[in-house]
């Protein structure tokens, strides 16, 4: 762990914190400039039956009578210390509401990612070891096929097939192991397509490299070549792809939760949107930003550790380009 790396890590961490805070401020500003003052319109909705004193009390409690900048300061300092304010609907702390539903979503998203990685690996492995006559081409077509199928369709098909037809899980008990597994499969398949596409393309590229031929000349078999030579360089770009698919995993898990009837962040979002519970919504949006930034931070920090060619220069990572340029030698290699 060199000094240059620690400097780089500290710099990246600082940037991540700044991005998260800016994301929070941004959502705050968007909420406060929304037309029609949704907060008071909710409170003054006759159906809710608040009296003027109660309204004044709630406004004072939420600090809504203070200037915007003061409100922002309170919200921001609350956010930093983990106090996300009170829900306007249920009068409970937003952090409690989120803590109730977050584990279920994290389990789903995590399982979805695991399924995606496993599937991508299997498909990529298949494209190298399934002979052409046994459907290698079909395997190569999988990623683009599943990329174009929306995950709620996959979810509905899975529920129909495994839930109703085969009876592997019961739709009324969405948190059971099998139900969670199939929800994760529905979530993971489109994500795995993106990962598999990159992985297959990179494996093909690496297999054509001269070092693969030289390794074979040392008596390395196909399986060992795949595991100990091709997989690592081909997987490096996948780290970046995974970080980018996190958004899809989060968004997808909200939809999947609805399809499978799970209680999670998705259902909380749904409820909060329909009741215009702004503190909850703002907290969830900020939370999404935090997850996204964190995952990308981890990817950025991992990359220099995984790829020895990445040089850390002045706090930014850079890959030497020399190896990509055709040298004199490779220009001469055109010798069929």
């Amino acid at each position: 762990m060199s000094n240059a790396y620690l400097t780089y890590a500290a710099k990246r961490l600082g940037q991540a914190v700044v991005v998260i805070l800016l994301a929070y401020v941004f959502t705050f500003v968007v909420v406060s400039i929304l037309p029609g003052d949704p907060i008071t319109s909710v409170l003054r909705n006759p159906q809710n039956g608040f009296s003027e004193e109660e309204i004044a009390e709630i406004i004072a409690a939420q600090g809504l009578d203070k200037p915007v900048l003061v409100q922002l300061w309170h919200a921001l300092s609350g956010f930093v210390t983990g106090d996300l304010g009170m829900s306007m609907r249920s009068n409970r702390p937003v952090s409690t509401l989120i803590a109730e539903v977050l584990p279920s979503t994290l389990i789903l998203a995590g399982a979805g990612l695991a399924v995606a990685l496993l599937l991508a690996m299997l498909v990529a492995y298949g494209t190298r070891f399934v002979p052409k006559k046994y459907g290698q081409g079909l395997l190569r077509g999988f990623p683009s096929l599943f990329l174009s199928v929306p995950n709620f369709v996959i979810g509905l098909v899975l529920i129909h097939l495994f839930g109703f037809q085969l009876g592997l899980f019961r739709v009324i008990n969405p948190d059971s192991f099998w139900a969670t597994l199939f929800a994760a499969v529905a979530l993971g398949i489109p994500v795995s397509s993106q990962i598999a596409e990159v992985l297959i393309a990179n494996l093909d590229k690496e297999a054509e490299q001269e070092y693969a031929a030289v390794a074979r000349s040392r008596g390395i078999g196909q399986l060992k070549l795949f595991v100990s030579h091709l997989l690592k360089p081909a997987s490096l770009p996948v780290v970046t792809v995974i970080a980018l698919t996190i958004g899809e995993l989060l968004g997808g898990s909200l939809i999947t939760e609805t399809v499978f009837g799970r209680t999670g962040v998705g259902s909380l979002v749904q409820r909060s949107v329909s009741t215009q519970d702004l503190p909850v919504l703002q907290a969830i949006v900020s939370l999404g930003a935090v997850v996204f930034v964190l995952v990308n931070l981890i990817a950025d920090l991992l990359y220099p550790l995984l790829d020895p060619r990445v040089k850390i220069l002045g706090g930014s990572k850079r890959r030497p380009t020399t190896s990509d340029e055709p040298s004199i030698g490779s220009a001469k290699a055109v010798n069929p």
């Binding site: 054509e208 490299q209 001269e210 070092y211 031929a213 030289v214 390794a215 074979r216 000349s217 040392r218 008596g219 390395i220 078999g221 100990s228 030579h229 690592k232 360089p233 490096l236 995984l306 790829d307 020895p308 060619r309 030497p320 020399t322 190896s323 340029e325 055709p326 040298s327 004199i328 030698g329 490779s330 220009a331 001469k332 290699a333 055109v334 010798n335 069929p336």
Partner: protein
């Protein structure tokens, strides 16, 4: 009498033994080998035999099929490649062998030294991990002892700090060191046959010599048969017992090195011989003489290019690197000045300064008596118009989406020269000057050969009618015969148009053929300069002598190597300081 009889019988048996030793079964025997990529046949009925402990060189240009033959023997042909015929290794047909049965021979019996060391090791795994793969082919089963074996081999191939090499990633080592590693990994399992595919074409000339010496030495010490693939006849003649000359996938001539080299039968082998600069230093004497006369006449008068006491430093990772250190030279009009040195000697930085791409820290550069320093961009543009550059690699320096006409016309458009009709007239003239017909005008670089591309690049430089052309290794990406072609074009242009050349190269043999004066650069300094004939016939500096010594001469080194076995752990060659870990 009885004793006399006994002696006679013994003598006879010795004779018989000698006779059978002279005609042993060959280790590698190739018969009627043909290789096709789909319907495209690239190797036609090639045959040769390589004896145990002997060496054989396959020689030819790009596209001659020499590497394809090597890959067919190694069974490493890319996907669509299909080989037919017979390849017998150690009395066993290997071409039709299932991969499962051939794999035990890989590495253990047949070793491979690839062409491009920079791309031949896995970039994200350490050298040690990859060396372990080679070590696992030996009888040694203990991991610790395997590592000892690896470190011993690294020392044997002249790597200074084996442990550090073991722990390094490929990008942390220089090309020369990587090639040593690859040779080490190939010889470590003690194969009977070593296939070396252009093992030095990506390396500097002095490193090339050391690597070739190392290969020859290991071949003799370890009793390995060597199949050497090269495009350089001089290298082949130096290193091999037998030569096989290939063209378009067919054998042109084959036989003992001495015979093929000194009295080639085929026209193609004679042409190859004539095209090797090292073997024909005075080939272009007639074309070059006018320049020498100019040199005699102009001594004392102002030069076309005057570089005086130029220094350029760069800051790299906080350290100051002096790329060009107090460099001075002058080039009289109509002559060729060569800058010679290895990678990192400062030649490229010097021409960047000359072209105004970088500014010198100190010192002055004058073109046709006009000092470059302190000029406005506008004034510099007019200077640069007189000064054109031909790049090293015509495969990457021409935009592949442009036509030849557009490529050659671009400088005219950029400097807004004349009318459209005049421009297209000048484009045609420049093309005819480099010997290209008008039918090529609408072609794109992809449809041109390497030689044609470099001619286009020269035409592009010529079209502005400059006085000076800077040639940055203009032939290093080309085959010898194509190189000879380009050299001829350049020299006849100089004789006809009175051009001044600044010629950058690491190839001293080529410099000797075409330059008038030369500066030898090492670590940013000029260590020696003068007339080509003076420097080459009587080098004063040790570095110049070492460079000259590295030129393959075609004189066999095989008889000079000691017959057998030194203690194996002893390093064969010490690496030079400049080859150390960067």
């Amino acid at each position: 009498m009885a004793s006399q009889d006994r002696l006679n019988t013994r003598l006879v048996s010795i004779k018989n033994a000698a006779a059978s030793a002279a005609q042993p079964a060959p280790l590698l025997s190739v018969k009627n080998l043909s290789v096709a990529y789909g319907a495209n046949r690239v190797v036609h009925d090639v045959g040769f035999e390589l004896g145990r402990g002997k060496s054989l060189a396959l020689i030819g240009e790009s596209g001659s099929g020499k590497s394809t033959i090597a890959r067919a023997v190694l069974r490493l042909l890319p996907g669509a490649g299909h080989a037919t015929g017979e390849v017998e290794f150690d009395g066993r047909e290997i071409l039709g062998l299932p991969e499962r049965q051939f794999r035990p021979l890989r590495g253990r019996a047949i070793g491979f030294v690839p062409q491009d060391p920079g791309n031949s090791l896995n970039p994200v795994r350490t050298i040690g991990v990859q060396a372990m793969e080679a070590a696992s082919l030996t009888d040694e089963t203990n991991a610790a002892l395997r590592k000892v074996l690896i470190l011993e081999t690294f020392a044997q191939v002249g790597l200074d700090n084996p442990q550090r090499v073991y722990d390094s990633y490929p990008h942390q080592l220089s090309g020369g060191m990587l090639q040593r590693v690859l040779i080490g990994l190939a010889v470590l399992p003690r194969p009977a046959l070593l296939v070396a595919d252009e093992p030095t074409s990506a390396l500097d000339v002095t490193i090339q010599k050391r690597i070739l010496d190392l290969l020859t030495r290991l071949q003799h010490d370890l009793d390995i048969s060597l199949l050497l693939i090269t495009h350089d006849l001089a290298i082949a003649a130096e290193r091999a017992d037998q030569l096989v000359v290939l063209k378009d996938g067919a054998v042109q001539e084959a036989g003992k090195t001495r015979t093929v080299f000194s009295s080639p039968n085929s026209a193609y082998a004679r042409k190859l011989h004539a095209d090797v600069p090292a073997l024909n230093p005075d080939r272009y004497a007639k074309l070059r003489d006018p320049g020498f006369r100019l040199l005699d006449r102009t001594s004392g008068t102002a030069s076309k290019i005057e570089v005086s006491a130029v220094t350029k430093t760069f800051a790299v990772d906080g350290k100051v690197l002096t790329a060009v250190d107090d460099v001075s030279f002058s080039v009289p009009a109509g002559t060729t000045h060569a800058l010679v040195g290895e990678s990192g000697s400062g030649k490229t930085t010097t021409i960047r300064l000359l072209l105004g791409l970088d500014e010198p820290d100190t010192g002055e550069i004058a073109i046709a008596g006009e000092n470059l320093a302190g000029r406005s961009q506008q004034q510099l543009r007019s200077v640069w118009r007189q000064l054109q550059l031909v790049y090293q690699n015509p495969f990457t320096s021409l935009d592949p989406t442009w036509t030849v006409e557009k490529l050659v016309r671009e400088p005219l458009d950029r400097f807004k020269v004349g009318t459209a009709a005049e421009r297209s007239e000048q484009v045609r003239e420049a093309l005819s000057n480099v010997g290209l017909g008008e039918h090529l005008l609408s072609r794109k670089p992809g449809a041109l050969s390497g030689g044609q591309r470099q001619r286009v690049a020269i035409a592009r430089a010529l079209v502005l009618k400059p006085d000076v052309i800077v040639l940055d290794e203009p032939t290093s990406a080309l085959d010898v015969s194509v190189q000879a072609d380009i050299v001829e074009v350049l020299l006849s242009l100089q004789a006809r148009l009175g051009l001044t050349y600044v010629f950058v190269s690491h190839d001293l043999a080529l410099v000797r053929q075409l330059a008038h004066t030369v500066s030898v650069m090492q670590r940013g300094r000029i260590v020696e300069h003068g007339r080509v004939s003076d420097i080459f016939d009587n080098p004063q500096h040790g570095y110049t002598a070492a460079l000259l010594d590295s030129i393959p001469s075609g004189i066999s080194t095989i008889s000079q190597t000691p017959p057998k076995a030194q203690p194996q752990a002893e390093p064969v060659i010490r690496t030079e300081r400049r080859e150390r870990i960067a």
